[in-house]
Symmetry: C2
Subunit: 208 residues, 2 copies
DNA sequence: CAATTACCGACCAGAGTGGTCAATTCACAT
DNA sequence: ATGTGAATTGACCACTCTGGTCGGTAATTG
């Protein structure tokens, strides 16, 4: 069975290893990422890692599968379950992102890195999976959008672009702000309140 | 005299070396950047590089100085010479960025990388210079801002944030789109026209 | 012409690479 | 307590790449 040795581990230990690997790959990309760093940061031996995974490539592809699963289940598929307009969806997405972040702080950085990954060793396997993933994401966030709330004196597609860009940047900035804080000491209410204020401005400016 | 051997080179050759080094450092950061890659990509010998610069660190610090000079002279100090409102400044900044890009395509990526650089070998020297630089940049772009054009029913600071974030993202996206195209085949008029359309939307939404 | 400077690239010791494997520890059935 | 198979360890392997050196050659200068 695939990854049987790793799957058998208890959840806590699995997550430690996953987070160590996500962090290393996110920081350096596939080629420059070091398995030595991963085992050191995960607190396991070199032998253990290669007992769980056949090779560095195997580990990387497992991570891709894994994050795609997490993001699809815990993120994209939940976004539909709320208002059909863009800003409501983002509001919900922010909450969901916080939940995923608590368990896998580097997951989104890992995914971001995937989209600029150029190593030929994994390009073929990665390309199709990533393409499907991105398409799925945009479909859930932007597909079947209720556009009736937008003001009518501006092109909706450009307004949508600007909103998406601004909020992506807001998200990135929040991540940096959070930094390596322990999960407990992040004030989620304050974070959401602040985000809400920006959404209000966007509603006032881009909606009727 | 400092960097005398390098300064004496003719401009063309200097720029080739500078661009090769900017590209490598921007892509991998200080620690992982390889001087071997730089000399290969610049088309010079290892000996030559260490004839121009005493060490990798010396080269890196020269580059920092150099890009700070370029950006200050060709970018920040020119932004003031136009309308004092935020969107006019961004319009001008986009043109200026294009000019710098033609000569040093990776310069802005290099600077971006500086702000997340963590190598202890250079941290001390870098920190102060970078701080001064960023402050100078924001002062020129956001300082002494004409805020009279903003609508009065929204908090100006939040509107300004959203505009800055959206346009930063637009800039990053344009860069990616340009990718590694040769400078000649970039359609600057089309690029500016497109950018103008987005600025129009922002004016309509955030200004009176 | 000599003298000086610019430049080359083979070479160095050391660090780090992905991956292996004999040896040890562990969990657990008897 | 003991035997057994699986989980785990970390020293080790062959190899690549690192920043930097240096004896030599080519080009420039006076």
């Amino acid at each position: 069975m695939l990854y049987e040795n790793f799957i058998g581990l208890k959840e806590e230990k699995r997550d430690v290893i996953i987070n160590a690997a996500l962090t290393e790959f996110a920081a350096k990309g596939y080629d420059l990422a070091s398995t030595n760093e991963i085992v050191k940061s995960a607190g396991i031996s070199k032998g253990a890692l290669f007992h769980y995974f056949a090779s560095k490539k195997d580990l990387f592809l497992f991570l891709c599968d894994y994050v795609f699963g997490v993001v699809s289940r815990e993120f994209y598929e939940q976004i539909g379950h709320c208002g059909g307009d863009l800003l409501s969806r983002y509001q919900r997405a922010a909450m969901l992102k916080g939940a995923v972040y608590q368990r896998y702080p580097r997951l989104f950085e890992f995914i971001k890195r995937l989209s600029i990954e150029k190593s030929p060793d994994i390009a073929a396997e990665l390309a199709q999976q990533l393409g499907k993933m991105m398409a799925y994401g945009y479909e859930n966030l932007l597909g079947n959008l209720d556009e009736s709330l937008f003001r009518t004196d501006i092109p909706i597609d450009k307004a949508r672009d600007l909103i998406v860009w601004a909020l992506e940047n807001y998200g990135a900035r929040s991540m940096e702000l959070i930094g390596d804080k322990r999960v407990e000491e992040i004030n989620m209410e304050a974070l959401n309140a602040d985000f809400g204020k920006y959404l209000d401005v966007l509603r006032k400016c881009f909606y009727k």
